[in-house]
Amino acid sequence: MNTDMITELRKVNNMAVEFNEPRETLLSIRDLHVWYELRRFGFGHAGYVKAVDNVSFEMAEGETVAVVGESGCGKSSLMKTILGLNIPTSGEVVFKGKNLAKLNTKGLRDYRFEIGYVQQDPYGALPPFMTVQQILEEPLIIKGVRDKEERLEKIRKAMDEVKLYPADDFLPKFPHMLSGGQQQRVVIARAMILSPKLIVADEPVSMLDASVRVEILKLMKALQEKYHLSVIYITHDLSTVKYFSARIFVMYAGNLIEKADTRQLLENPLHPYTTALLAATSDPDARNADSFKEVPPGEPPSLANPPKGCRFHPRCAKAIAGLCDEKEPVDFEPIPEHFVACWLYQPK
């Protein structure tokens, strides 16, 4: 009986995992390097932290992409560069044919109207002294929507989209009066209110409870489909990725090491690091308690002084001496549309 009910519930909030056919390129990243300069005593040069190193990818309009990696791998630096908050050391971020580095202040402002940002910690992302109405109104004021009625109408529409209703109950509330899930809905509404083309979601559900997590992911997926949005979903949780993204990029120590279709990557991971990540992800199963997990030894390298050659080689069981510790791997394509930066897949 209970299993039936669960199946029934699945139908009610079911959302087919289908992905829209990608269209024209929306965002393209070419040879991006984001390095932060280290200084000694405040002025002497002491090297660089190579947070993003030689990253390139393209994203089509309406495409969803997940960037997966551990903390400190450069996910956030990549994201901030896409949002126009970091200036790349070299390389280009091209959005709708416009190079971000060549935009003037006005151009950059217009660019920011087209991207939305969903932060990780909803409570930290919402100013505690502003009501929901003020929070959602601010981007509209900055964009220059003068008419108060029009602003209010847009706010109501956005709140309806994220299922915060009745809207009038929520408008005068302060963030601390909302639950975590509701706060995250306000953050999503704020990101959506200017009808952006691209949403960057930085671990949007990692601070939420398990039951709410799925709800928020489904909400974001529904909005993505409805408005044909492009979404960059940054996460460390591989188990949620397949419900949300069409492609996965795996990042390690500032490099994109594997790029593939979601299903393809989850079923057939190529890079030893990706394999390790997948093996370390647990599904709830009592049998897990009987065995140990295989985890590569050591920790991710310091980005100020990354190892020579492949950055994963000190932890890699399959490292080839004389190659992996000498030469940085390039992208190979052993399977069509499945790219991996690993010498193991060098064509013979």
């Binding site: 519930l9 639950s179 975590g180 188990s239 647990s282 199963d285 308690a289």
Partner: protein, 320 residues
């Protein structure tokens, strides 16, 4: 005294209520469960269901605004609730039960060397000299996988995973029979998380320690669980063996909670639980999950007793 000797821990009707200016918060309301030696129980529940308060109640780490604190807690047959605070501090805390608090890696003292911090409980509770305590520190560091030369380092010199291991070593150094782990892996990276789980499993095998693992991360919790206890709105609604629980939970809340977990190796679409847990200030009479439960019926307006189903126990009228 009254309980059988194989049971390490037996909790009967544990209650912890807090006073606030708005009313009484019933954070832990009549919790019963038992745990055998060298077993691990996972207490699962959403945030705000009273998980952390349960760990505080067990260790008697109470804030000032306690309204009601009662029940029976037997540790190796001894009723520890009957002890006064000083006896409890001397005989139970650290020696019998120790705690790895939430975000333990940020709970280390930043101005003390980690070796000194790990040695401190051994010096205070076991009455060892610093040199003797350091002997134990080296042993514990080996158990948790921290290089021995890290004793002279400060917390900021260690990564998150290493600090978590140090916090674990601190809980282990007095060789307690039970360790309460409050969200031990929630702030860590995936690979670090798997590593810490491996360490916990190994310690369980090598030292025979029991664990109470408090978490909301269902998938990771299955790595360690021998038994599962599901907590909802201050009450335990289901307990049972992990091998029975994970494939087929009994309570509707447990079923929906399990169905909400995104899985890597299965095609099933996760569901979510509509509505929100009730306020613990003024919980509904009857079953506390009734408002969100798809199976509710007339009976649910009365508080369900705990029904025994084989070795499992469930607090739900459906299993009458």
């Amino acid at each position: 005294m009254t309980t059988s000797s194989e049971k390490l821990l037996n909790i009967e009707n544990l209650v912890l209520h807090f006073k606030t200016s708005y009313g009484t918060v019933q954070a832990v309301d009549g919790v019963d469960f038992e745990l055998g030696t060298n077993r691990a129980v996972v207490v699962l529940g959403e945030s705000g269901c009273g998980k952390t308060s349960l760990s505080k109640a067990l260790l008697r780490l109470l804030p000032r605004n306690v309204d009601k604190y009662s029940g029976k807690v037997y540790l190796q047959g001894q009723d520890v609730m009957a002890l006064d605070d000083e006896e409890y501090r001397q005989n139970v805390r650290w020696v019998g039960i120790s705690l790895v608090p939430q975000a333990a890696m940020n709970a280390l003292n930043p101005v003390l060397k980690v070796g000194d911090q790990v040695a401190e409980p051994a010096m205070i509770h076991l009455g060892l000299t610093k040199a003797e305590a350091y002997g134990l520190v080296y042993k514990m560091f080996q158990h948790v996988g921290v290089p021995a030369d890290f004793v002279a380092r400060y917390p900021f010199e260690l990564s998150g995973g290493m600090r978590q291991r140090v916090a674990l070593a601190m809980a282990l150094v007095t060789s307690p029979s039970l360790i309460v782990l409050d969200e031990p892996t929630s702030a860590l990276d995936l690979l670090t998380q798997a590593n810490i789980m491996n360490v916990l499993k190994r310690i369980k095998h090598e030292l025979g320690t029991s664990y109470i693992l408090i978490t909301h991360d269902i998938a990771t919790s299955s790595e360690l669980a021998d038994e599962v206890a599901i907590m909802y709105a201050g009450q335990i609604v289901e307990t049972g063996d992990a091998k029975d629980f994970f494939p087929a939970p009994l309570h509707p809340y447990s079923q929906m909670l399990m169905a909400s977990v995104p899985r890597l190796r299965s095609e099933s679409d996760p569901i979510f639980i509509t509505g929100q847990p009730p306020s613990l200030m003024n919980p509904p009479s009857g079953c506390r999950f009734a408002a969100r439960c798809p199976f509710r019926f007339e009976k649910c307006s009365e508080e369900p007793p705990v029904f025994q189903k084989g070795k499992r126990r469930v607090k739900c009228w459906l299993h009458q």
